[in-house]
């Protein structure tokens, strides 16, 4: 019998796994068995995750599922090992991972800290100030095309302030209309 995984070496290890009363047998060569074991222990994972994954994989059969463009791992491979291939896998398998993360953690939206470099915020502020100065100069020079481009760039950089600004604008407008009516 050949190893199920590499199909090259003779299978010398016969693994029997029983999950939820269902028995599965695997026939592997020594080297593939080592890899399999390493994948399992590397995960150091809660049995919970493996149970969830195996339950899902039993339902979907042996489908390889979507493939991560960055590292080439398939969702089916992840279901077997519980370990993702690279950070981009989260993008590639987003639709599959969101419900799984909810099952594990009770939620799938991060609410904690985000990485930010100390200098980053002040850099953004400096860039905004520079753009504002350029825009004012463009207006003074009556280069309205450039001013509009700079305004759009500013808006893209400051979404929060931009919203606040646009919500004020209609109020100013309606006040003006009110005056006209009177």
């Amino acid at each position: 019998m050949l190893c199920e995984s590499c199909h090259q070496q003779p299978a010398t290890v016969h693994l029997t796994t029983i999950v939820g009363g269902e028995k599965t047998e695997q026939h592997l060569c020594a080297s593939c068995c080592q890899k399999h074991k390493q994948a399992l222990t590397m995960a150091g994972m809660s049995t919970l995750l493996l149970n969830l994954l195996q339950g899902a994989s039993a339902q979907s059969g042996e489908q390889p599922g979507p493939r991560c463009e960055a590292c080439g791992q398939t969702y089916g491979e992840f279901q077997k090992s519980g370990i993702l291939g690279c950070p981009k896998c989260y993008d590639s398998f987003r639709a599959h991972l969101a419900p799984l993360l909810t099952r594990i953690h009770g939620g799938s939206k991060h609410t904690g800290r985000a990485p930010s470099r100390a200098g980053e915020e002040s850099q953004i502020r400096r860039r905004i100030d520079a753009l504002k100065r350029e825009m004012n100069r463009a207006v003074a020079d009556e280069d309205f095309e450039l001013a509009a481009r700079l305004r759009d760039e500013l808006r893209a950089m400051t979404p929060a302030q931009d919203c606040a600004g646009s919500s004020r604008a209609p109020r100013a407008g309606s006040a003006a209309e009110g005056e006209t009516d009177a």
Binding site: M42, G82, P87, Y90, L97, H105, G107, H110
Partner: protein, 359 residues
């Protein structure tokens, strides 16, 4: 022989140099899982990229005083010693050719740091374990906030120098989805002899799991609770902020402390002679035996620690906690300066225990 009598305390103080929670808590730890963006997770790294991952970690952390140790440059004994000091996990030892650790507060190989405070707190960053970076900060008391402060300081050093894998929806991205989100695992090491001996641990484990927390043995997942030592840690890492997780941990650990203390009092009130007999027998063995195996050491050590907390056995907790690391197999051989057979180790352990008890 000193007798346990709360009204007439013997003149020694077992808590000398320790915090008020030291009767139950040995250490607090905060661990952060971080990965480099645009690089496969460690399980899928080719040897060259694995070295890149080590280089990036070293560039971010060595300027802050951490020392880089590549696993393949250490002897088997040295690696084991780091694991016994909990500076690295046993998983890191499985792939020495591509993994490393950066540590601060590391004095020397043969003088184990004083677990209960003297040498201060410890920071270690494992490279290419399950994730590219695993920051671990240890504090030798019940103080998760301080452990978190140290861990997040190191986190900032990493963020300043490297691009960390992060997603607006999922937070910090980790190789295993059980760590995704904050990537933070906070843990408190608890000594729970009374709960263990009275058969209450089943109930404790159940209560803990309802809170999204878990109890593990001394060296983490899948290890035995030797010496009646348990690690309480959070399971949930996504959907809750770091502060919320730390608060949950603090309150659960406080409840377990109260629970353990109540059972200690109950055991003493219920059958004082049987309890004291158990503790004093341990003292007899530790004081006089010529050979003590690692397993026996852990059992007797637990008795001595409880006996000291009850002021029945005149030993300082700081001495006992230092022994806990020093008497482990690799640390023992490291301080002996040679590889020892099992029998030699047991003899040396007994001698070391007796030496420490004279302090």
């Amino acid at each position: 022989m000193p007798k346990f009598d709360p009204a007439a305390r013997p003149p020694f103080n077992p808590f000398d140099g320790t915090s008020p929670e030291a009767d139950v808590v040995l250490t607090s730890r905060v661990r952060l899982a971080r990965n480099h963006a645009g690089m496969p997770f460690p399980g899928f790294l080719d040897p060259e990229t694995a070295q890149d991952s080590i280089r990036l970690a070293a560039e971010a952390l060595t300027p802050h005083g951490l020392t880089l140790m590549r696993m393949d440059s250490l002897s088997a004994l040295q690696r084991q010693t780091l694991a016994e000091r909990r500076l690295i996990s046993r998983d890191l030892l499985k792939t020495p050719e591509r993994s490393a650790v950066l540590v601060s507060g590391f004095d020397s190989w043969d003088a184990p740091p004083d677990v209960s405070g003297a040498s201060g707190n410890t920071l270690s960053v494992m490279v290419n374990e399950e994730d590219h970076l695993r920051v671990q900060a240890f504090v030798n008391e019940f103080n998760l906030d301080e452990a978190a402060r140290i861990a997040f300081e190191a986190d900032q050093w990493i963020i300043e120098k490297t691009s960390v894998a992060y997603d607006e929806e999922f937070g910090y991205l980790t190789a295993c989805p059980t760590n995704t989100g904050t990537g933070m695992r906070a843990s408190v090491m608890l000594h729970l002899p009374a709960l263990t001996w009275s058969g209450e641990m089943g109930k404790v484990t159940q209560a803990v799991s309802k809170l999204g927390l878990t109890l593990r043995g001394l060296y983490g997942e899948g290890t035995e609770a030797q010496g009646d030592l348990y690690q309480l840690s959070n399971q949930v890492t996504l959907g809750r902020t770091e502060q919320e997780i730390l608060e949950d941990m603090r309150s659960a650990a406080s409840q377990m402390m109260d629970w353990e203390r109540k059972v200690r009092v109950a055991l003493h009130a219920g059958d004082r002679i049987t309890l004291e007999d158990r503790l004093m027998r341990a003292l007899g063995v530790m004081e006089h035996a010529r050979k003590i195996s690692a397993k026996e050491f852990m059992q007797r050590w637990s008795c001595l620690r409880l006996g000291a907390c009850m002021k029945l056995i005149p030993l300082k907790l700081s001495v006992l906690d230092r022994l806990l690391t020093a008497a482990q197999p690799a640390s023992l051989q490291q301080s002996a300066g040679e590889t020892l057979s099992d029998e030699q180790r047991d003899a040396r352990r007994a001698a070391m225990v007796q030496q420490a008890m004279k302090e």
